[in-house]
Subunit: 166 residues, 8 copies
């Protein structure tokens, strides 16, 4: 499984959230590396990972951080790969600070931001990006959408069975 | 210029904001179509555009809307292409409503959200996504980053010249 | 009991909240159907339910969803029946995102929004709407208001009995 | 034109916003009375208007107020007709205070809240409510939806004509 | 103990918060009545209590309510006594809605608002108001301030004793 | 005209807002002193004014400040007179910072907070407080309330005259 | 260990948060005094501590408080030493009120604000300030930064070891 | 005038705000360099400036940026000098995003944050930090505080002269 996605997170305490991204990517057969790397504590490591990401074979970066979440922005500054930002809910503001710090990037340096704690959606977005040039992934995404629909329909039918009919 | 990006916006009044995306894409030689299409007023058109987007040759969708901004979500529901959401500042909340309505998508249906009014960044993000499978665009993005850096450095030097040297 | 109200919710996990609406409607003798149906995962089902709602005999729609809550808006786009939106508290923003996504609809497509988690009020609002042409329901609403007042007065008297009279 | 809708507003300075509701109702042939009436300055008038609304022939109430907007709530307390609340943007908080004061009603007393300054949507919501028992209005709403769609499509086509076809 | 303060609250579930006000008033020898009374469920009772408050011997009103907290405003509309509003934290917004609904009153109808859940401060504010014409209460307030200072100083000294002196 | 109210403000630039309080007090025949005095720039002056306020004959303090508005709190710390806080809208947060800084006082030190920029209400609240022991002011407040009601009713009638009667 | 830092907090209940600052300072060999002292309950003590701080040998003040957090501002008003403000999360607003009350100081009286509950960062900021004139501390800060980086790198390596290699 | 302060800003458009800092520093005889330097567009320049700041003779860094303001954080990551962050009001959120992005730093990397647009306070805070080891600056700060107090007192007296003495 070729590792096309680089997942970076500001702290290993973010892993329980980001594990969903790893799992989701794996369901699409997309490999990833997961690295702990801080915009503030290891800026040199972050810069090195970011600036070498494309030539190391990655195609998408997912960056997760909480509070004044700068990690996605730092990566976006040093790679031309698309960077997906995942604001992590932590501290007194429960992720609103991380959302603003991730999404409100100045012109020139975009971060593709998903919802607070949206690690699963980050993985799906990465797969969608990869599907631009990968028909197989496009097919899988179609199947995924279909199975989500089926799951909702099944839940609907289950509920109909449980509700009093009159 | 092949039209790889589909830009949709909820109202033609959003065009002055989105024109920056058109211009930015053109600077990278990336063609786009721009369509007015409302999640609420023309849901059928939106659905048709979204569900046919991939086979019509588009590779990325950019969706811009204000207030309870559902357009990006509606597109994300009906295509497997990556959808970039641009929250538009309008009305009493000045775009915070649009940001929340765009970014806080439920698991399974991601929207790659940029900052409020971030049309230029939406275009750059689209180019980054396309660059996954297009070495030429990757090169251009490198050049773009370099020229942004040069512009900042030039401004810095200009400022040094203007400040009293004491 | 004729089913005049269609309750839709984005996820079966919303049912514990929406059950209060079902119960409240039943107390007025108003029947309802409850459907799980997602604006994003089953847009076709949502569209079909919405566009057929009036001719299927429904008179009011109640739509409940959390986060970037688009369900009420999607229904409002495809039916001319009044649509009541219930923002559900979920995720890091605890329903503020759902409130903004539900209430800040663009001109032309109203959603009658109640408070966050306000399922009981959604049911009462539906009954009020039905009472426009149903004297019996208007009477029942009068009785309901009277019994609410009595309950408050009883609580007041109970409290007077419990407080030290000095 | 029978006056089925009672529009109340906390101040005559709100009339420029609420005039859109009057105009919109008139386009559907729905008459209305517009009254200035304050929850705080003329509570007795408000109570009298509210408690007599149904027997005076009104079928829907629209209440508009800014800041700590209590008017819709005060009406909802004293009538069993559906009350639509329009938060008005005024003062330092630009309507967020009015939105919260209008929508976050306690269980038992619903207010059908539309977006900040959403007077046009308030009118449409009133028409939808009236359409429950008025096939003619239901037809008109269908036509209204169709003409909104046509307007969006026309704007889209106009834009296509203006954009460089390259 | 003459009952100079009327405490009203929207629900008996607010009593655990408001009990602190009762206790605080009692420490100053100020009597009070506590009434459950809803702006929305028993508007007539509220109006009657408010409009008769002064001639029934009350000198200050304290009104506590949550969510779209209208109770203080409704009292302020119908009495010329000073009305102190206590926003109660309840529901998804944890009292921010109640704060805005209480404090942002339109010109002409003031509510003396204390912090969210600030029942103790409401009592002290009532005593301060009563002290305008009651030298004895002014003295007691002086003593209260002194004892608060002493308590802080004692805590400071205790902490000094516990910290390592090194 | 005896000066019963002390108005303090953090900056003379707040005077245009606070002038409304001076005018409103004068209409009730209540005199006031207006002082510029900063919690941060002249803390000693603030402390002296506050701690001497009662014996200098004042009965109520009104304190107005913007941003991290500490002035009301500083006065409340050093007097047992009731202190009314007026949050002033200034700077990037437009008064929300001042509101929170004024109203969220810790237990023991209440500030009677009015809405952002609510100088007129501050004056009325002061008069209400003074009316506790001044029957004449209570009468005037009754008249004031009556004239406010009349003004609203007059505006209502004027509007009725202007609207098309059809 | 010379006591160069004065830590003040509004309540002894803040000590569990501020203890991290004490510990962090101690790791740099910087001594501190910790005082309980309230802007509102013991303003005289606060003023005395603040105005004597420099000549008592302190070089930096750290002030922690919650809600309408005035303590840092009060200290900043009466000393020319740098004052670091730590907003404490408490009450219904969870520290957002304290953040605004601490950081939004008017021109002339700065408070160096750290994040909500950021006691450890307050200590580090104090050490950085002291390092301006203390080469030894500058060295230690370099070591601290290096050890933080090493800790992140170690966590990264540990994670690599735990993740499935394929 | 030795240049002890390094002012960096994300864009030359921030200079009108930051000029106040330059002027304020000059009034204390403290020299500074002003550099345009972007966390995202010129990360290498930022890193170089930051990591060399101390040995280049700077003693304090002031970093100003808007939106997802990472500049202060990036500097704090690469220097052990104290870094003062100035959130700039720009874009749809008017500086709240910049405030959160600047102040909510993770443990280990403090930024001394001043209010939105608080460039003058940033300069004063820098002078306070420098005064730790510079008696002369401490004296000047005392004089500055005294002159601020005098200015307020003068404004107060001017106002007394202008108000009607009755």
């Amino acid at each position: 499984m070729k590792k096309l996605v680089l997942i970076v997170m500001g702290s290993d305490s973010d892993y329980p959230v980001m594990e969903k991204a790893v799992v989701q990517l794996a369901e699409f057969g997309v490999g990833c590396d997961v690295r702990v790397c801080s915009a503030h504590r290891t800026p040199a490591v972050a810069h090195e990972l970011a600036s070498g990401a494309r030539q190391n074979g990655y195609r998408v970066v997912i960056a997760a951080a909480g509070m004044a979440a700068h990690l996605a922005g730092v990566f976006a500054a040093s790679t031309t790969l698309p960077v997906i930002g995942v604001p992590i809910a932590s501290g007194a503001m429960n992720g609103v600070d991380a959302l603003y710090s991730t999404v409100q990037m100045p012109p020139g340096i975009p971060v593709a931001t998903v919802g607070i704690g949206g690690s699963k959606n980050a993985a799906l977005l990465a797969v969608e990006m990869l599907s631009i040039a990968d028909e197989g992934l496009a097919e899988q995404l179609n199947d995924f959408k279909a199975s989500m629909a089926e799951a909702v329909i099944a839940k609907d039918q289950k509920l109909q069975g449980e509700l009093p009919t009159e």
